[in-house]
């Protein structure tokens, strides 16, 4: 007797004749005949298919150890820290390289026509990376199985929210159909159902990203403030590299705060462990010195760079569309390095402003919609319980957002202080709203909304820069309209130097030339300012330089001095400060004598 399991017989055994009903036979014959006739008449129509969006494969928890999470779109500094933060949580992850022109060409090739250039650059960058993996010997299937890409999403109104579909399309067109693209909603966080916990959205994740962003912003700002004045060319970049390694290591080694030990066990019994752990993580974030000590080390390292602040440099504030103003490569014609090469000092835009903007807009919306539920449901204003309930709800939302805003700024400022207080503080969103609204309705969202206009006025009015350079991608919808509004801003603010540049994959020479055009003006302004300051103080530049040479602390980047209203440039303010010190020293000498 065979020990093999007996196959269960499905359907009718071969040797038996199936007796069909008469009706079935007729219908079968008719169907056969219909097919034959239709075929003969050449009108047979197979099943009509309909288009469906691509099927999305999930990234599950079990795949975590063999899957690398790819991400990109920020500066290398931010990305290096994000990578460390995610690694500390146990994820394999890697930032994509800075998008280059080839990425742009690939994006154009595999994506839809007529996209704005961040799409081409970033989408093409992912395709390029996948192709490079293939060149290294991985098969397409291995790439599809072992990598996922995470990108931010938004619910409109600009096309940024549709990028995700564009990634999928380009991946399909380039042969990587099925590659996983995960969406991180800016306002809603990660979609857990979509993620299937492959990437866990929890407080540790958010705090890690928050720290990476904030430190990235501030260290970036610090480096851009030091580099133009470094006495030994290339020193700032060298120090920056070392510091980034140090910070990466510090973040990577950091472990999420856990409630354990006896207290944990005790709270667990009472069912309070979750809340307590949540609270503990927050407090750890707010008061722990773990990262701060690494930052202080970094500060000391930066402070060792020798600088000469008497160099007259026009200060150029960068604004524009989120990606174009952030990327440091072909995507914006390598604009920051170009500006520095042309003798300017650049003030880059922190991502923190955007985070504050999102919170501010949420507050604005809550205020705008205050009481609308009552009106919509025809609730009488005398229905005190309902009216009160509605107002309490709004106030709760506002209070929560206000607390979030305060915590965010506190954390940001803590890092500024730890890094020597050199970096710029985040612009006040209420002030930006007040300045921008007359020209660009602050309720209009999409892109940077009113921020481009507002930042232009803010930085120009507060004597924070000589010139504002707005970088926007070719075809950016909100930014283009913002430029329309800026034409009135520039006309109304007399001394403003504002230049919008549309970035695209081509035309570097022309774009650089236009920047030189505005920069020429800004340089003259900076020189004039310096001349006026020297006249006012009665000093010569050589005298100031000589004094600074005698006082080594004045050649340190973290050396503090004031900013006088109406005086913009670093050199001019430094001269004013030095002059005061020199006069004081002279007075002291006279007094001693």
């Amino acid at each position: 007797m065979s020990t093999a399991p007996m196959n269960r017989i499905h359907g009718t055994p071969r040797h038996l004749v199936q007796i069909a009903s008469k009706e079935e036979l007729i219908q079968q014959r008719l169907a056969e005949e219909r097919l034959r006739l239709e075929r003969e008449a050449r009108i047979e129509r197979g099943e009509v298919n309909h288009f469906h969006k691509p099927i999305e494969r999930p990234f599950t928890r079990s795949q975590r150890d063999i899957t690398t999470i790819l991400f990109g779109g920020l500066t290398w500094k931010h990305e290096k820290l994000v990578q460390a933060a995610l690694a500390s949580l146990g994820y394999r992850c890697a930032p994509l390289p800075v998008p280059n022109k080839r990425a742009f060409q690939l994006g154009k090739e595999y994506g839809n026509n007529g996209q704005c250039n961040p799409t081409y650059f970033t989408v093409g960058n992912l395709v390029q990376f996948c192709q490079s993996l293939e060149e290294q010997g991985l098969s397409k299937q291995e790439i599809i199985d072992r990598y996922v890409f995470i990108t931010a999403g938004a619910c409109g109104p600009c096309r940024f929210g549709m990028y995700e579909a564009e990634y999928r399309l380009a991946l399909r067109n380039s042969g990587f159909d099925g590659f996983r693209v995960l969406l991180f909603q800016q306002e809603g966080g990660l979609n857990q159902a979509e993620m299937e916990a492959g990437l866990e959205m929890n407080l540790d994740f958010f705090l890690g990203i928050l720290n990476a962003m904030n430190i990235g912003d501030i260290i970036n700002d610090v480096a851009y403030q030091i580099r133009p004045f470094e006495i030994n060319p290339g020193e700032t970049d060298r120090v920056l590299d070392e510091c980034m390694d140090r910070l990466h290591e510090a973040m990577r080694r950091r472990r999420p705060w856990r409630l354990d030990g006896q207290l944990g066990a005790w709270l667990k019994k009472g069912g309070l462990q979750g809340t307590a752990e949540y609270l503990g993580k927050f407090l750890n974030q707010l008061y722990s010195d773990e990262l701060m000590s690494a930052l202080r080390e970094v500060r000391a390292r930066f402070d060792s760079i020798a600088v000469d602040r008497t160099r007259v440099k026009p200060l150029v504030k960068i604004t524009g569309e989120f990606w174009a103003q952030t990327t440091e490569g072909d995507g914006n014609f390598n604009m920051f390095r170009f500006l520095e090469k042309e003798g300017a000092q650049v003030i880059v835009e922190p991502i923190g402003t955007w985070i504050c903007y999102l919170m501010h807009q949420a507050k604005q919306e809550a205020r705008d919609k205050r009481g609308l539920d009552l009106l919509a449901n025809g609730v009488s204003k005398w229905n005190i319980p309902k009216v009160l309930g509605s107002h309490v709800n709004t106030q709760k939302k506002l209070a929560l957002l206000t607390v979030a805003e305060k915590i965010f700024k506190r954390e940001y400022n803590r890092i500024i202080d730890a890094l020597g207080g050199l970096a710029h503080h985040l612009a006040d969103q209420y002030e930006l709203q007040r300045l921008g609204h007359p020209y660009y309705n602050t309720r209009a969202s999409g892109g940077e909304g009113h921020l481009e206009v507002a930042k232009n006025i803010y930085y120009s009015n507060k004597d924070l820069c000589h010139m504002v350079l707005s970088l926007k991608p070719f075809g950016c919808m909100p930014s283009t309209q913002s430029d329309g509004a800026q034409s009135a801003v520039v006309a109304h603010y007399k001394d403003m130097i504002f230049l919008p540049i549309e970035t695209s994959g081509e035309g570097d020479v022309n774009a650089h030339s236009r920047v030189q055009m505005a920069l020429g003006e800004a340089k003259m302004r900076a020189k004039k300012e310096m001349k006026a300051v020297l006249e006012e103080t009665g000093m010569t530049l050589e005298e100031v330089q000589g004094f600074a040479a005698e006082h080594p602390e004045m050649q340190r980047p973290m050396y503090k001095y004031g900013h006088r209203k109406g005086v913009i440039g670093v050199a001019a303010n430094f001269v004013l400060h030095a002059a005061e010190r020199m006069k004081a020293a002279r007075r002291a000498r006279v007094y001693v004598q």
Binding site: K22, L25, I26, R29, L30, R34, R36, L37, A41, I43, V48, H50, H52, K53, K108, E109, Y110, N112, N113, G114, Q115, C155, G156, P157, C158, R159, G161, M162, Y163, E164, A165, N173, L372, Y439, N441, A444, G446, G475, M477, P478, T480, Q481, D483, G484, A485, S487, A488, V490, A491, H492, E502, E506, V509, N510, H512, S513, R514, M517, A518, E521
Partner: protein
């Protein structure tokens, strides 16, 4: 000669010329100056200048200082120790010193244009500089003049003296050099003389600069005209002098008293040297250690060595990897030598003739009765299709008659842009659209073709086939990127014969890498590459190499070629160029590599004449069906002579377009049209052809004839409604809502009560201007009914006119940005309200709301947002009218760009209340009631007017087995000025047009279409789009997807996508929309990149092609239906037979033999091109 360290050199290295001055600092005297074209050899010309300056003025290494500017200056500076000064800064420095009274500068260069406005602050007297430069696009610069001039072959001296004043101007697009060239081509072919063409071009360039480069600012007097074209071309100067004062007048700009405004536009002395002089000026103020001249030796090294190294880094290998590979390619693609048939003396050669009057060349063939090509000829167009045709006939006849045979034409078919003229003049038997002709010709020779790629002079046609049927086709739009003419003109520009192209390009061992896309950018690339030292052969190889990318990636956007099939047939004149073929073959093969397959790429053996062959095949088919030729006869062709007229007497006044037409009076025996009424009498024996008209009405001169035509058109239009047109009217009509305003209070005691009464009384007189733009086409009734319900009389709601060329031209100059056209017309519409309607009768308010979201029927969508460009347009409109003084205030008008959210009714009510409470004296209750009235009107507009009529159209379509076109567009595409009346063209050929908003959503219909999907769980509701599009937050985008799904599921509908240039929300869904429609087998057509200029020629060829395919598609539907009915009848018979058989043989279960097959007629030309009858 002064001392050498007292000299400063200013060197301006532009894109086409080098200018230089040597100035003595102490005396500020110009000691030396020169201005020369560098013919793309910038470093060489600079070297020559430097050597001459050294010899002639004594400039010295280490002593003299040198400052450079210009687009090529940055690259030269490091080699000579010069300091670079940006062009605009250099020019402004020169102007500030040499012409302090100057208010603005307009400098046109070879590839760039600059405007600098010195705006004086009335309080401080300080001058603020507003500089602007063109970005990378060379539209509106000297390059466009050069390009057109090269085409018209006007000698330099003559060009300089070309005028403007008093010459007739014709519409030419100034925005883009490629579009300008297309317009000039058309005008030239209709007989416009070169001086008028150039004057029209000057006008176009100047309008472009005034509209874009001034960024909406007014040029301040005195205006200095600088740069080569302004300095040397009289017509350009005159054109500025004519146009700038017009702007001043229109804007009431204060001018110095007693001066002729024309005199305030001047060309200063040394205008061409201003940038160079600015450099010197810059140098004078700089530290003396800066810009010290280091001699020319390094520059010479760069020319001979450095440049080569730079090139090597940037370029790639040539068009082939090895000689072996090239030889193998040449062997395989060696053109098959065409051997014309030989004829016997006395033989009567019976033939079908096909003639293809293309844009750049004319082709003709004689086909035998067996459809073999007997003889053929090809020539580059000499500008007039009739002249070309006569020569074609002569050539064909000569080939036959020289052998002693005689030719008998059995029929003539024409194709190409001149097909209709040829049909009229020759009495040809058929005129078919190019796409069809090319397909016929390809399938005749290569029945297994999967893809036909036809690259002609101006057009690229891609025809995708399946089983010998046309599945899809793609044509380039107005943009001619990637066409053959570009290769040809570059080759000729380098001084070669186009026939040598391949040999020259194959000689290149390396080549520069062009970015694919716009031809104007490629033109700039060429200049740039030449500057880098790339040789002509290398550039030509690079251009050939980029051609397939332009065809497959830019124009047709099909990166995945392998999905189309295996056999590719390349045809069109460009395939004569083997370098282009090589690039195409390599590109196509590379796209198959991943799949481990190899395509079969064939070059059509008659690649240049395939259109003519297709036309001849068509006439042969008709002949076989019994049609006999009406051809005027060979001898009569010789006798054809003609006269063209184009002047005010040829202008058509039958519609607002007022087309300047061309009359071609052709002398043909037997013709007699002398009895026709005309401003230009028609001689006896002359047939008048009218061309250059944009609509059918312009085909005649007599008003009664026109009425007849109109009657026919009207009947056609009535039978085939155009819902875009209906919606465009209905969005702005009065829905006569009930007035819900509060009654006037009987008593008013407090100041605020009194104020309110006053405001309430005023409502009756209030006049509100509303621009007819953007989403007002979708939600206009909400606002009109809101105002009317509050007591504003309907006649006091004043709408701007519909978009027209004139309206746009009048108002566009205030614009500062270059967004999509629908947004850009915002300013002209408000301008129209201010300058036309307000002047007639004053307006109190201009209401131009910022519409942030839209009411929607689409459930489960993420959100219902409007496009951000659309929403925020009112902000840039406001900026345009308030930046130079507040024009609204000056006109006593309140401009309201209220931010509204119509998707949230309560929020909308609050927003409108906040805006209007103090204007109308509103109470919350009446405001709420008025909003309700608005929403009710919107519902009537949407459901009764649009969907109601849509339902009726659909019912008729289904009843009559006809086809309707669904426009997949955005609400503003209902504006006839934005859709360029494309939809009307379809109405005229018998297709009703439905819009997304007019697709009926009655339960019975939508459940019929989507019920299965809901049942299958793919979607949750018939109007759910989540199965096709995930990121559904943009309402108009989601609507488009839904309408595409609807069209894909309805057998009587086909899709026509309209999309405006720069549409940011259309781009991400191009593929999704197209695939949604086509996956189901439903035809999909598109007009993308619609912009301000109307590409009439391109529209015509597309409409004709689409018309042809739709005709076939409908035949297919009818045929199917008929056959289906026959089959059903047969099956009924069979069923009865089977039942009878089974009843009688109840014990037998085995099915019997099948009944004999029914004879079914082979379908003819269903949804496709025939192959052979």
């Amino acid at each position: 000669m002064g001392s050498t360290n007292n000299l400063i050199v200013g060197l301006d290295v532009g894109s086409t010329t080098v200018k230089s001055v040597v100035v003595e600092v102490d005396t500020q005297k110009i000691l030396w100056s020169d201005y020369q074209r560098h013919d793309t050899k910038q470093p060489e010309k600079c070297l020559e200048f430097l050597k001459r300056m050294e010899a002639e003025t004594g400039i010295q290494t280490g002593e003299t200082r040198i400052f450079v500017t210009g687009s090529g200056g940055g690259a030269i500076a490091p080699y000579i120790g010069a300091k670079f000064v940006q062009e605009v800064n250099a020019v402004s420095l020169a102007v500030e010193h040499l012409y302090p009274e100057c208010g603005s500068v307009v400098e046109l260069g070879g590839q760039d244009a600059k405007i600098i406005i010195f705006k004086e602050d009335p309080e401080t007297g300080r001058k603020k500089k507003i500089p602007s430069m063109n970005d990378k696009c060379a539209g509106g610069t000297g390059a466009v003049i050069d390009k057109i001039n090269a085409k018209l072959r006007i000698p330099a001296e003559e060009l300089c003296n070309m005028g403007y004043v008093g010459l007739k101007l014709h519409p030419v697009a100034g925005k883009c050099g490629v579009f300008a060239e297309t317009d000039i081509n058309g005008l030239q072919k209709s007989g416009v003389p070169p001086n008028e063409l150039m004057a029209s071009l000057f006008e176009a360039i100047i309008q472009q600069n005034l509209a874009v480069l001034t960024r909406g600012n007014t040029l301040r007097p005195v205006v200095l005209l600088l740069g080569g074209p302004n300095t040397y071309i009289k017509g350009m100067r005159d054109c500025w002098k004519h146009n700038i004062p017009k702007v001043w007048e229109e804007r009431s700009f204060p001018l110095p008293e007693g001066k002729d405004p024309r005199d305030l536009v001047q060309v200063p002395e040394n205008a061409q040297y201003f940038a160079a002089l600015g450099c010197v000026r810059f140098g004078m103020d700089e530290d003396p250690t800066l810009g010290v001249y280091q001699g020319w030796e390094k520059l010479e090294w760069y020319i001979s060595v450095g440049r080569q190294e730079e090139k090597a880094k940037k370029g790639s290998a040539g068009l082939y990897r090895s000689e072996v590979e090239l030889d193998a390619f040449k062997e395989r693609y060696k053109p098959k030598k065409f051997i014309p048939r030989t004829f016997q003396p006395g033989e009567r050669v019976r033939a079908f003739m096909g003639i293809d009057g293309g844009s750049t060349s004319t082709k003709a063939v004689l086909l035998s009765e067996d459809a073999e090509v007997m003889v053929k000829c090809y020539q580059l167009s000499k500008g007039n299709p009739l002249e070309d045709t006569k020569e074609m006939f002569a050539s064909l006849r000569q080939q036959v008659e020289s052998q002693g045979a005689t030719l008998e034409l059995l029929g003539i078919g024409s194709t190409g842009y001149a097909k209709d003229i040829l049909k009229d003049v020759l009495r040809a038997d058929v005129a078919i659209v190019e796409t069809v002709a090319h397909t016929e010709a390809a399938l005749h020779f290569y029945p297994d073709a999967d893809v036909i790629c036809d690259v002609g002079g101006q057009d690229i046609k891609l025809i995708i086939l399946q089983d010998g049927r046309v599945k899809d086709f793609k044509l380039n739009t107005q943009c001619s990127a990637g066409n053959g003419y570009f290769l040809q003109s570059t080759c000729v520009g380098f001084g070669f014969d186009v026939k040598q192209y391949a040999d020259i390009a194959f000689a290149a061992k390396s080549m520069p890498m062009f970015g694919y896309g716009c031809a104007v950018f490629m033109q700039s690339d060429i200049v740039d590459f030449q500057r880098q030292g790339w040789k002509p052969e290398e550039i030509m190889a690079g251009l050939a190499n980029v051609l397939p990318k332009n065809i497959w990636l830019y124009v047709s956007q099909i990166p995945n070629l392998a999905s189309l099939g295996r056999t590719f047939v390349l045809q069109g004149g460009t395939q004569h160029n083997l370098a282009a073929v090589k690039a195409q073959v390599d590109f196509i093969e590379s796209r198959f590599k991943d799949r481990g397959a190899k395509p079969n790429v064939i070059v059509h053996e008659h690649c240049g004449e395939s259109g003519a062959i297709g036309a001849a095949l068509e006439v042969r088919r008709l002949y076989k069906r019994g049609q006999r030729t009406q051809f005027i006869g060979l001898d009569a062709v010789d006798q054809i002579s003609y006269v063209t007229h184009r002047n005010e007497n040829t202008r058509c006044y039958f519609c607002k377009n007022k087309c300047m037409r061309t009359f071609i009076d052709v002398s043909i025996a037997d013709a007699d049209e002398s009895w026709k009424k005309s401003k230009i009498p028609i001689a006896v024996g002359v047939k008048r052809l009218i061309v250059g008209n944009s609509c059918e009405k312009g085909l005649v001169e007599d008003v009664n004839d026109m009425r007849e035509i109109k009657k026919g058109l009207d009947a056609m239009k009535k039978d085939n409604p155009n819902m875009a047109e209906v919606a465009a009217k209905a969005a702005f009509k009065s829905y006569a809502p009930p007035v819900v305003a509060d009654p006037l209070p009987k008593y008013a005691f407090t100041a605020s009560q009194k104020r309110r009464v006053g405001l309430m009384k005023k409502r009756k007189e209030m006049r509100i201007g509303i621009p007819r733009i953007l989403n007002m086409y979708s939600v206009g009734p909400i606002f009109s009914a809101y105002f009317e319900a509050l007591g504003i009389p309907a006649e006091n709601l004043v709408y701007s006119d519909y978009t027209s060329e004139q309206l746009y031209k009048d108002g566009a100059k205030r614009g500062a940005i270059d967004p999509c056209f629908p947004s850009k017309v915002g300013i002209p519409h408000v301008h129209n309200l201010l300058h036309v309607h307000h002047k007639k009768k004053p307006l109190d308010i201009i209401f131009c709301p910022m519409i942030d979201d839209l009411p929607s029927d689409l459930p489960f969508a993420q959100a219902h947002r409007a496009c951000p460009t659309v929403t925020v347009t009112p902000e840039s409109v406001k900026a345009a009218f308030t930046k130079e003084g507040d024009l609204f205030k000056e006109n006593n008008i309140l401009f309201l760009n209220t931010f509204v959210n119509p998707a949230n009714h309560t929020l909308l009510a609050k927003q409108l209340y906040d805006e209007f409470k103090d204007i109308f004296g509103l109470s919350w209750e009446e405001n709420l009631a008025a909003v309700q009235a608005g929403l009710k009107a919107q519902e009537t507009f949407q459901n009764d007017v649009l969907r109601g009529q849509g339902r009726e159209i659909l019912r008729k379509l289904e009843e009559e087995d006809r086809i309707g076109i669904v426009v997949l567009g955005r609400p503003y595409h209902n504006d006839p000025g934005i859709n360029h009346e494309i939809l009307e063209e379809f109405q005229k050929i018998g297709y009703p047009v439905l819009t997304q908003a007019s697709l009926p959503t009655d339960e019975d219909i939508i459940w019929r279409l989507f019920g299965e999907d809901v049942k299958a769980g793919t979607i949750r509701h018939p109007m759910d789009i989540s199965d096709a599009w995930k990121n559904s937050y943009s309402e108009n985008t989601s609507q488009k997807i839904w309408a595409a799904k609807y069209t894909a599921r309805h057998p009587n509908l086909v899709a026509l996508e309209l999309s405006s240039f720069k549409c940011g929300h259309d781009a991400p869904i191009y593929t999704a929309v197209e695939e949604t429609v086509t996956t189901s087998g439903t035809p999909y057509f598109s007009f993308k990149d619609i912009d301000e200029n109307k590409p009439t020629g391109s529209i015509k060829i597309r409409v004709e092609t689409i018309g042809y395919f739709l005709k076939r598609y409908r035949e297919d539907i009818i045929y199917r239906k008929q056959k289906q009915a026959e089959i059903e009848a047969r099956l009924k018979e069979l069923e009865a037979q089977l039942r009878a058989e089974l009843d009688s043989r109840a014990d037998s279960l085995a099915p019997g033999p099948p009944p004999p097959a029914y004879q079914v007629e082979t379908p003819i030309g269903i949804n496709a091109i025939r192959r052979e009858e």
